[in-house]
């Protein structure tokens, strides 16, 4: 089985009175087990030139329950060097937050299907703030992916 380790260090010497240093690390396992996650989309390197809201993982089937509540981890990074350029991150159109230039996020993803039939079933979406071109990196490390049949 694969061993995937995600680690984080948060540090600041001047945020609070004493130096702040937080370090954590964990191994990414399949749901409810100590067996490592063994699939990934790979790291995508993406250049977007429109402010259109897009699906970050278009190969995942909308409405599929195959991997709902399985272990999926998502990393998204806005590689813009312009601090004013941001991307709005949503799930099914509901806003999580904004990634400004240089920001990243790391979060679990349930791919949870909602009860509204017209909804997009937990899709992670991203909308750049400008159409002049923005670079992004993203990856999903997950327990499984159901790919759509060829048209």
């Amino acid at each position: 089985m694969a061993v995937t380790t995600a680690a984080l260090t948060i540090s600041s010497s001047d945020l609070v009175g004493d130096a702040l240093s937080l370090t954590t690390s964990n191994t990414l396992n399949k749901v409810g087990s100590t067996v490592g996650i063994d699939q990934t989309t790979g790291m995508s390197v993406v250049y977007l030139t429109a402010t259109t809201n897009i699906d970050v993982f278009p190969t995942l089937i909308e409405g599929s329950l195959a991997f709902q509540d399985k272990a999926s981890w998502v990393y998204i990074c806005n590689k813009s060097t312009d601090a004013t350029e941001f991307a709005t991150i949503t799930i099914s159109g509901n806003v999580i937050g904004r990634l400004y230039g240089g920001d990243f996020l790391w979060m679990p993803w349930s791919q949870s299907e909602d009860s509204a039939a017209e909804n997009l079933h937990g899709d992670i979406e991203l909308a750049p703030s400008v159409a002049t071109g923005m670079w992004f990196d993203w990856i999903c490390v997950n327990e499984g992916t159901e790919y759509p049949d060829a048209a």
Binding site: L8, S12, L15, I96, G122, V141
Partner: protein
């Protein structure tokens, strides 16, 4: 202003082609190179039941100044060691009961993902008025055997 650096590293043998990266971000104010300067500090919460409740409430407490035009980052970790129990993290209105608010598309509640023992997450947060609350629900938890989480918000 303060300088806050967050460095994430991921390493894996999941692919024969290798998978490893490290990225550092400086936590800055929205649209600025000035650092965030406020924090909740590292908080710890012991969860002793399976009710669906707010962890962070938009427009209240520390989030009263967090808006779409400002920057905030939220760190949450399940500090347990049990690989079979988890905290379900979501956005929206908590039911406050053992049955979570319905995961629908009317901007009431949506589920993000699960934090099993040892798992952590770091996300941006704009605390919108509709789905801005960050909610939690333990898979199992009792007074005798609580699940514990730690969390920290950095904001402007």
């Amino acid at each position: 202003m303060a300088t806050i650096n967050a460095t994430m590293s991921l390493s894996s043998d999941i692919s024969e082609y290798g998978l490893s990266f490290s990225k550092t971000m400086q936590m800055n104010k929205a649209g600025s190179v000035d650092g965030l300067e406020l924090t909740t500090g590292l908080a710890r919460r012991s969860i002793t039941n399976t009710n669906h409740v707010d962890l962070l409430t938009a427009g209240a407490g520390i989030a009263v100044d967090v808006t779409a035009s400002k920057s905030a980052k939220v760190y949450i970790k399940n500090v347990g060691t049990d690989a079979t129990t988890y905290i379900n993290v979501g956005f929206g209105n908590a039911s406050t009961s053992g049955t979570a608010t319905v995961n629908d598309n009317d901007a009431t509640f949506f589920e993000l993902g699960r934090l099993y023992g040892g798992n952590w997450m770091l996300i941006p947060w704009i605390a919108t008025s509709t789905t801005g609350d960050i909610t939690i629900q333990a898979s199992v938890a009792t007074t005798a055997a609580p699940q514990n989480i730690e969390y920290m918000v950095f904001f402007e």
